[in-house]
Every structure is written in C-alpha cells, then in structure tokens.
C-alpha cells in the first residue's frame, strides 16, 4: 500500500503543480481586478456601472465550467483564439474578479460615509482617502468572505479538465482508471485537505494581524 502511494506520488505532484499554478495566478490577478471592479461600481460614470453590472451578472449567473468552454471553444468562432492554459486562466480570473468585486463592494459600502467627509476636511485627496482610510478597513471587514472564496477556488481548479489540462483531480482519475482502485482518489482528497488547511492557517494569521481594534 505504502509502495503504491509512493509510486503514485510523482504523477499526483505534477497534477498538484498545475492546480497550484492556476490557483496562484488566478488569485494574484483577480484580487486587484476585483478591487477595480468594486471601485468602478461606485463610479459616477453610468455606462461604466452598467457594463460592470452586466459583467457581474454574467459571471455569477452562469456556471464557471460553461465560461471556460465558451472562452476556449466559443471565442475562436469570432476569431479570438487562446491556448488551453491561457483560456482557462482568463475564465478563472474573470469569474473570480466578479465575485471578489462584489465582496469588496460590500466592504467599501459598510464604511461610514462620515469618514469620507472627515478625510476631505483633513485635506485628503479621494485617491489618498481610499488608499489610506477606506482600503485598510475594508480588508479587515472582507477577510472572512475572501477566505471562503479562496478555498472554493482551490477546488474549482479541477474544472480545467474540460479543456484537457491535467490537474490534481484528473491525475487521480487517470490512476484510478488505470489501476481500477479508489486509493488515488483518496490521495487526491488528502492533498486538497492539506492545501485547505494551509490556507485556513494563513487567513487566521491575516485576521489576527488586522484585528487591531480588539
């Protein structure tokens, strides 16, 4: 049994690598993009707000799997062709930026309007107000919701199988088919759990760091 697990490890780890890559890149790009979406939703430019509303509606209103299929198989029809990897990444980033955008918007809106007035009186520019006053408080408020999304993202990465990318779950399924055994799938489950445990600890530390008023 132990032998078998050790023999499975290399293919699992290579699957895990793809999973982690998709996870990390999606996170790194979609969080800043989400902040921009949230700021854009507060904008006074009405068409921009309308566009963002449609964007969020589409991204939250259709399955992520469908979005990946659409970007990889659908866009080439109108002459936009991406490789498998970028197509999957774009779908993930657009989808997650929409969710993060809504979380950040909730965070921004929960901050008392009086703080904007106070900042103005003190001579802060709007940009500086956002960066120095709103953003730090917002991060504190949204951390638990972000942690939720991030953990969902770990598991959502499994969807890239649809464009033929081999990630962790796929590696498990391949081994499971080859050896007619459930062990590889159990291993996959354990690896996901380890990832989630690590993330949970990271977010706990972050929450502690931002809990400066308690």
């Amino acid at each position: 049994m132990i032998d078998y697990i050790i023999r499975l490890m290399p293919s699992m780890l290579s699957g895990l690598q793809t999973t982690l890559e998709i996870f990390a890149i999606t996170l790194i790009v979609s969080i800043p993009l989400g902040i921009l979406v949230a700021i854009g939703r507060q904008s006074k430019i009405k068409p921009l707000v309308a566009v963002l509303q449609v964007y969020i509606w589409v991204m939250r209103g259709t399955p992520l799997l469908l979005q990946i299929v659409f970007i990889f198989f659908g866009l080439p029809i109108i002459g936009i062709t991406f490789d498998r990897y970028p197509a999957a990444l774009i779908a993930f980033i657009l989808n997650y930026a929409a969710y993060f955008g809504e979380i950040f918007r909730g965070g921004i809106e929960s901050i008392d309007k009086g703080q904007y007035d106070a900042a103005k009186v003190l001579g802060f520019t709007p940009a500086k107000t956002f960066k120095r006053i709103i953003l730090p408080q917002m991060i504190k408020i949204v951390l638990p919701s972000i942690a939720n999304e991030v953990i969902t993202l770990v598991k959502d990465t499994a969807l890239v199988y649809v464009v033929g990318l081999g990630e962790l779950l796929r590696a498990g399924k391949i081994a499971s088919n080859r050896d007619a055994s459930l062990t590889p799938l159990v291993m996959v489950g354990v690896l996901y759990l380890v990832l989630t445990a690590l993330l949970t600890v990271v977010f706990q530390k972050l929450e502690e760091k931002y809990a400066y008023y308690q």
Binding site: K46, V49, A50, V54, I77, I78, G164, R170, K173, A180
Partner: protein, 271 residues
C-alpha cells in the same frame, strides 16, 4: 422604477444585444476551415492526436505520467510511416468532436467506435480493431440475458458508443429501472457503481471491460454472452482532411500486411 435604473437597464440590454450580434455575424470565418489541412500539417511537421488519457488500455498514463496504450503504439508506428510526428493532446472525451472541428486536434484516436451518428460529424479511417458492446454484471446475479435487464439499473459512460448501442433497442432501455441508463463521466465510475451494487449492469467496450475486470479480479464479474452489437474502432478526422485520412489508411494497410499490427495487438491484448 427610477429613471436611472431604467436607463442603465437599456444600456445593459444594448450591450448584450451587441455581443450576441457579434457572435451571430461571425459564421463567415468558417469557410476558411473547410480546406484540406494536409499541406499545412506537413509544413508544421506534426499532427495532434486527441486522447482521453483515462482510457486504459487504449491510451492512458502510466505511473511515470507517460501516455501509453494500444492506440499510442499504433500511432507512433503510423507516424514513422507517414513522416509526420504525432503530438498527443489530452482532451475531455465529451468535447472530442468540438476539439477536432475547432482545429485544436487533428485526429480523434482513442478507442473511438465507428457509429452512424458520429459519421455525420467526422470522417472515419478504415476500422482498425473490432469491439463489442458487452454487458457486465457481478458474478452472483440472476441476469443472464439481455431481457433480464428489464427493471434493472444499467450504467455506461456518457457520450460513449455504449449509449448509442443501447438506443438501438429503445423498448429495452425504456424498461430499465429509471427508463434510461445511468451515465458516468468515465467507465471506471460506472464499474465502481456496479461493485457498490447501486447499478446491476454496465454496458461498455469489450476491450475496456476486460481490462477493468482483469484489474479487479475476473472471478467477481461475468460478461453476458448476449451483447449490444459489434462495432469497430476507427480514427476520426475532419471531413475535409481527405489526404491525411488516405495517408494514415495506407500506413495501416501496410502495417497489417507486414505483421507490425499483429505485434502491437499481441502486446496489449494477449489473453
């Protein structure tokens, strides 16, 4: 409804319509794809072969992560004879024809059964392996003939030719428990469900069923004598890719004639 909200909704609607019409007008690109791509493939020096890398023993990954299997050996031999390298691309089996027609892969070659429905979507090479759609049950059931499947739960792989084979007998399918087969993403899942006794039978390619049964212990299963028909594996091409199809057909002919084909068969299917 406030005026602002109304205006926003109108703007949004216009945007959606705009995107839809963009998609709608774009079909004129497709004509470019109707050409035979053989010259282009020769220039790039390789063809891309679409494989479901979970499909043992036809094409699957060994423990080192390398794709191996009967189809892979066959393809490598063909590659030498037609002077084009073969690049293997793993695909999701339910998307195979879409992958082919959008040009992401050039051939579907992975235990791909020749069926009438598929013939409408792709062009097939000559058949290169015979196969049956067999009915597998656990060894200790009272299912001994096809008619015994009435009132039972029957599983198969989604989008596989097993499903199509069953549909040729609609009355029998309607008599299944649930009125239709239970569909799984992979055959392996169908067999696991059989072992868990949630389904009573699995319909699958004989080649694949035998592989699975061998892995799990042949004494625990039985394959019924009756089946859902014989069929053959072929290689799927885009309909316009006549030259590539002919080149590969010729290579297969030569391999059958000089014994290379039999060697590869021996390697994978020796009893």
């Amino acid at each position: 409804m406030s005026r602002n909200l109304k205006r926003n909704l109108i703007v949004a609607l216009i945007l959606v319509l705009g995107i839809l019409s963009l998609v709608g007008c774009s079909n004129n690109n497709e004509e470019a794809k109707q050409e035979d791509s053989f010259e282009k493939l020769k220039e790039q020096g390789y063809i891309t072969m679409g494989v479901d890398d979970t499909f043992a023993p036809m094409g699957f990954r060994d423990e080192k992560g390398e794709i191996v299997g009967f189809d892979i050996d066959l393809a490598n031999e063909v590659s030498k004879r037609i002077g084009l390298d073969i690049k293997i691309q793993q695909i999701d089996w339910t998307m195979k024809e879409t992958e082919l027609n959008s040009g992401n892969i050039d051939v579907i070659w992975n235990g791909y059964s020749i069926t009438d429905e598929r013939k409408e979507k792709v062009a097939f090479s000559q058949p290169y392996l015979e196969n049956r759609q067999v009915i597998v049950t656990l060894a200790d059931t009272d299912i001994n003939a096809k008619q015994d499947l009435a009132g039972k739960k029957v599983a198969a792989q989604n989008q596989s030719s097993a499903v199509e084979a069953m549909e040729t007998e609609p009355e029998l399918v309607a008599a299944f428990d649930g009125g239709e087969p239970v569909l799984f993403d992979t055959n392996n899942e169908a067999f696991m469900d059989l072992e868990a006794k949630r389904v009573d039978a699995v319909v699958a390619d004989e080649v694949l069923a035998k592989y699975y049964i061998k892995q799990r212990g042949a004494e625990r299963f039985k394959i019924l004598e009756e089946d859902f028909g014989e069929e053959e594996y072929g290689i799927g091409f885009r309909k316009q890719d006549v030259k590539l199809l002919e080149a590969i057909d010729k290579a297969l002919d030569d391999m059958k004639a000089d014994g290379t084909y039999d060697e590869i068969c021996q390697k994978w299917f020796a009893e």
